[in-house]
């Protein structure tokens, strides 16, 4: 079964530092997403990406965040100047037309 792969599985960073979370979507999928889940809370939409540009972003996805598809396989989420409240599980997801999203196993980001 094809998988969405995320690295690292766990990242600890100091407040104010920049982090890059990496994702390899399923190869024939065209739509890519980032979601996050703060401990004990709902999964929240961050951003969707299609055809090398952002399709939609939530109110959470401010100038601190950016996404990129630097090559044909990777999809990254960069968080600049991390804050304590950025600590969460970050999920990457991808999908093809007409099928459900496939989520990666997540990156647990801890900001200290």
């Amino acid at each position: 079964e094809p998988e969405v792969t995320q690295t690292p599985s766990h990242q600890v960073t100091q407040m104010g530092q920049e982090v890059i979370l990496r994702c390899v979507p399923i190869s024939n999928h065209l739509y890519f997403y980032w979601y996050r889940q703060i401990l004990g809370q709902k999964v929240e939409f961050l951003v969707s990406f299609y055809n090398n540009e952002i399709s939609e972003k939530s109110e959470i996805f401010d100038d601190q965040f950016s996404v990129e598809r630097p090559d044909g396989s990777n999809f990254t989420l960069k968080i600049r100047s991390t804050k304590l409240e950025d600590s969460a599980m970050y999920f990457c997801a991808s999908r093809a037309d007409g099928v459900g999203y496939t989520f990666g196993s997540g990156t647990r980001l801890t900001v200290v």
Partner: protein, 110 residues
């Protein structure tokens, strides 16, 4: 703004019991509704529902959507301890974004 309400939030059942999980939603430009199972980490896909009244089945799990009343049900029959998880309901709406509920936490005891 999206709104997804799942009930019950938490339940404990014995192996062999049947579980019914409820999800009501309010979103604009609804496209479909997805159910996921979340154990330790990533939500794993269960069902995608697009049409009202058509039951989808996968083994002991089944789900149905009512687009008029804006709700969906997920049923699990003959529960096993491996069914213990949080079940997430997520309408897909607008520009293909998912809105998640808080989940139904199911604990199946032997």
């Amino acid at each position: 703004e999206d709104k997804v309400v799942q009930s019950p939030l938490s339940l404990v059942v014995h192996e062999g019991d049947t579980v019914t999980l409820n999800c009501s939603y309010e979103v604009t430009n609804f496209r479909s509704l997805l159910w996921y199972k979340q154990e330790k980490k990533a939500p794993t896909f269960l069902f995608m529902l697009t049409s009202s009244g058509i039951e989808k089945k996968s083994g002991r799990l089944s789900s149905i959507l009512d687009k008029k009343e804006l709700f969906s049900i997920l049923n699990i029959t003959a529960t096993q301890t491996g069914d213990s998880a949080v079940y997430l309901c997520a309408p897909n709406y607008g520009n293909n974004r998912l809105a998640f509920g808080k989940g139904n936490q199911v604990v199946v005891i032997p």
